[in-house]
Symmetry: C2
């Protein structure tokens, strides 16, 4: 993939492995990323579901270096780099760009609320000007249920107009199809629109979208990719419905701990259960119930290993 191309496909906000003492285990992260790549799924590390905002910038820089050192292709990497403080966002974005990452997924600064579109425009513009690289490709990250900061259609329009070669896409995690549809209908030139949930993958593809970046891609990558790849096939509708069975099950639990429980079980590495506060691991009864359901469904993460191979 040439450096300046734009992304499409299925990406996973890779779950983050911690030790019991809450330090990061880079070996297990590499293992999960390599497995995802074998399933044709790209690496949106440091997303919401990666507990990215529970990691320091230093930890993220170190992990990016370790992923590259372990042979992960940077053209398959779309790390999350949007933080509250401008110098932090610039530092992490610069590092990711220097490593050759295909793009970055960028939250708006999310502490101050009720900020204006002008203020958000200036946030993104300052980052772009300070990084100052034509290799930088930004995918905006719209996730108002968590960030509480919306990225409006008119803000996108302004950024795309002023930085057409840099602001090249968005992940819409609003959970609101009408918002995704409005973006898809806007007709911004080669703008890559990812749905934040495979729930809307078929609709997104039918309307000219680029794919999805979804938590569930951590555990069900091949099936999600299969729908992405074959959205025009007659079986697409039924594939879409099949995807929802696993998604609906996971959504009945706190999602991040549930994903980690499933990875822990399938990789036979119980340390995957650890989360950093303020999140909590699933308790034993919830874990048992979830795993029983998955066994009933004959669910298995084929080929998942622990990163040592």
């Amino acid at each position: 993939m040439p450096i300046h191309s734009r992304c499409s496909g299925v990406f996973a906000p890779v779950v983050m492995p911690f030790e019991r003492d809450l330090s990061v285990n880079a070996r297990r992260l590499v293992g999960q990323c390599k497995w995802l790549l074998t399933q044709n799924v790209g690496i949106a590390v440091f997303g919401t579901n990666s507990e990215a905002n529970s990691l320091s910038v230093d930890e993220k820089i170190d992990l990016l270096d370790q992923l590259i050192d372990a042979g992960i292709d940077p053209s398959r990497l779309m790390p999350g780099t949007g933080l509250c403080a401008l110098p932090d966002t610039v530092r992490l974005t610069e590092h990711a760009t220097r490593l050759g990452c295909a793009g970055v997924l960028m939250l708006p600064p999310f502490y101050y609320k009720d900020v204006s579109d002008d203020g958000l425009y200036r946030s993104y513009a300052e980052v772009i000007e300070r990084v100052g690289s034509n290799r930088l490709k930004i995918y905006l990250y719209h996730i108002p249920p968590i960030s509480q900061i919306a990225i409006s259609i008119s803000l996108i329009e302004r950024l795309v107009k002023d930085y057409p070669e840099t602001v090249v896409g968005i992940k819409d995690s609003s959970g609101d199809w009408s918002n995704t549809k409005e973006m898809l209908d806007a007709g911004w030139d080669d703008f890559r629109i990812f749905t934040g949930s495979e729930k809307f993958l078929l609709q997104t593809m039918r309307n000219g979208g680029a794919g999805c970046i979804s938590a569930t891609a951590n555990i069900n990558p091949a099936a999600i990719y299969d729908l992405y790849e074959n959205w025009q096939a007659p079986a697409a509708e039924s594939k879409q419905q099949e995807l929802m069975v696993l998604r609906d099950l996971v959504q009945r639990y706190p999602v991040i701990p549930a994903l980690k429980c499933i990875v822990a079980c399938n990789s036979n590495e119980p340390d995957w259960l650890h989360v950093r506060p303020p999140l909590e691991s699933l308790g034993k009864s919830l874990r048992d119930a979830l795993i029983a359901k998955l066994t009933e469904m004959n669910f298995h993460m084929k080929g998942l290993h622990d990163g040592t191979q």
Copy 2:
């Protein structure tokens, strides 16, 4: 003030001076802090109104060092140290504790929403255990309108019970007097309750509170301190009402830019106008209107200088 004492009085979340290029100007910060101290107001640097979450941890550590080097008494310092990522909170809190700061004002991690009290308890407990110093004095920071993460009465109760010498107070910026009153009525031993607005200062003092930590203390410190000091005097009611005139004026504008506009005007340093994105400086017409009102009120920040004296 001995190191292990608890805080009371009036504190200002000191506004943060930036240059045109958005770098921090430590000289002007020192000047503002020294002026506040002459007005009997303590230094709650890195509060919400300090644009603290628009600064990196490195910037905050450097600024704390510069404040101490400039002769600011650490026993008058209550820096904000609560961040999203556990390692960041631990690092900044450790540094503030090592410098001998009287206390730290600690936000809960604020990215992930709908987190449980157990998760928040674990966040605070991990910080306390990792810092591992009996000099650490934590003032919890309850500001749900911005952080979107509430600190419940039962969470406070648990923390005070398990860490009675460390979790020693709270700033209540809920804007909800009934919440402050419930805390004041709880009867936690020597627990220091600060209201987040001088609007409730008299009520807070009458109910056994410790004082206030308020944005407006940046520009009106002497009058707020006067009410704090003389809350039992007959004139207290009218002093409380007088405080509200300036506060109500400032609240009609975006508060942080308005405070900076007032400091800029009174110190004759227009660079005080700069804010980091996503905030925006006041435009000229808003500035003119605000300053005209203040002139009409014969408002002046007596003795404010630019930090060079």
